[in-house]
Symmetry: C2
Subunit: 356 residues, 2 copies
Amino acid sequence: MKHERSKRFHKMAKITDIAKRAGVSIATVSRVINHSGNVKKSTKEKVLKAIKELSYTPNFPARYLKTKRTLTIGMVVPDITNPFFPMVFRGAESVVKQENYTIILCNTFEDEYEEMRYLSILEAKKVDGILLIKAPARSGNEQYMQKLKNLSIPIVYLDRLPKLQDIPAVVADNVGGGYAATSHLLKLGHKRIAIITVHYPLTVHRERLQGYVKALREHDIPISRLYIKKGASTIEEAISLAPSLLNMKNRPTAIFVTNHKMTIGLMRALEMAGLQCPEDISVVGYDDFDWENVFHPRLTVVAQPTYQLGQAAAGLLIEILRDRTDSMHHKIVMLSTELKIRESCGIYRQNKLRKP
Amino acid sequence: MKHERSKRFHKMAKITDIAKRAGVSIATVSRVINHSGNVKKSTKEKVLKAIKELSYTPNFPARYLKTKRTLTIGMVVPDITNPFFPMVFRGAESVVKQENYTIILCNTFEDEYEEMRYLSILEAKKVDGILLIKAPARSGNEQYMQKLKNLSIPIVYLDRLPKLQDIPAVVADNVGGGYAATSHLLKLGHKRIAIITVHYPLTVHRERLQGYVKALREHDIPISRLYIKKGASTIEEAISLAPSLLNMKNRPTAIFVTNHKMTIGLMRALEMAGLQCPEDISVVGYDDFDWENVFHPRLTVVAQPTYQLGQAAAGLLIEILRDRTDSMHHKIVMLSTELKIRESCGIYRQNKLRKP
DNA sequence: CCATTTTATGGAAACGTTTAATCCTTTAAG
DNA sequence: CTTAAAGGATTAAACGTTTCCATAAAATGG
């Protein structure tokens, strides 16, 4: 018995069926579908009628062969489970849907090889463009850079920049974010401010650290290596990293965490160490979500323009696709972040921490 | 000036190029690519060499024309921003990727028309199958049911069931969830237990309510309409719904919220009313996420097998696609939920609420 | 009313594959 | 050594569109 679709799935009408039923040529049918060329009102109606009667829809993959457009774009993200990304997805979707694009979503889990695999697939599937939130670069993965460079599809980088700079991208102002967070703590009187950040070679975290350093410098506070902790961006990692900070003789009075998952890990570690926030130690985290303004302690965080990142990146990509050109080649747009001040930072004065 | 891709995007090699370079026919090239038919070792090597040299990848849309498979599936969800869905997405992705499928993700925002629009697009794009978390049915939208029934693509329903029952689906045990949550409260001594749930005509919420009713019945506690609040599944809605419960003469001592967003809204409402949880009132919520075990009050929730839902649904779909048949037509698989007991429920005894 | 332009249609090629049908070589069997 | 079977490769026909080119019909201008 040959494999075949059961009767439930009747074969779809194709353009020749429409042509036959309407008594015209397929060229004419095509013309009414695509609103291209002239076609007499009466025949147009005949065709439209046939289309409705057979509930015909054009076959996209077939159409691609001539048009070279799939009306599909690819979006590759590290992990859609990190609530940062769904928001940028929605931003992107909201703009591409206007132009009838559809998005293939790919999770790379911060793995460059997985990313390469997906990029290859997207290329084979002939997506019109790609929104790429890249995985951290493995040292010396020349093959990867080569692949990116030779990709036959327009890319817009999102959130994270690759080494090569001559590409269109939209990113958040990370040094601004790190600076704002640290400045806030400084303003509250903190002097021993630690940072927990990510060890991946990602622009994002390097820049947030940069902002932190900049703020401290401005206040003539020496940077101590002991106050800078780096690790993988996971809850567990933060939990295992935190004690080295919490058990110091000169324990920091405030900690800035540059990443959402690690923020959760840190809070867990504080509990485990029996430390109250903000009474015993202040925390500012990264990324802002619904629940953060409800549950305790209410975190002071630097909020990123997630939705707008998605929108902007998608907009840029659409532009590039519209007039298939590299004119926007070097365009990098940067969106600013916002410090949301809530209750996780106390005032530090003469060796005591107080609620503000 | 004609629109055309800039030089940066060189045209891709096609199968004829490979054939020419390897000095064989395109049929042979196709055979080595697809491992179909016999081909001599030496020619195979020649072909492989040519493929590598020109870095050729088969053109999927073109290939579809003959194979009738796009290796793409569609997944339509209400809102990827609700952290429940990213988890099921990942579950689904983890299994379909094994078979080289890729997922088009569509947000419907609980809107049936938007869903119809997306289903039409997915059909036109010839995805091989669809994972559908449907939007709530608008009353009397006959057109929609018609569309679903006539869809030319295999569907697996996820999480939510449609009216017509003869379809493959995977869902969570919602009455079990509602029952477990309510029973837990009952066991703690609560008698005045309210429920906040969603007014959409969705099986999911109806069933959770069912579980709630069942548990109360078993304890011979009369069901009061006043303790049952329904509304849209948003934070704001819960905030505006809550006071009618909180300000009653006979205020409930516990509230069961059947939905994640509304849980957040309720907690906000409690704060606004100056009520402590669990001291003044107990809460059990729905859906479990990282932060819920860290921030306060730590919510007791019924956790759904999100990842597994995605896995199971994708697995079922793959099976259906493998032998293109409707054999699994009636298969409905149900996964069980788990009550995660934490700190948001106090013991109720003789008119006082205490921590357990 | 003729010449010319515009509008309306159809025929057929092309897009990049897979795959049946076919043909030519080997190889193995008797 | 002859013949049949198996193996290896090719030719050509699809798949469902769009679009160029050609042609027919209608509209326009003088």
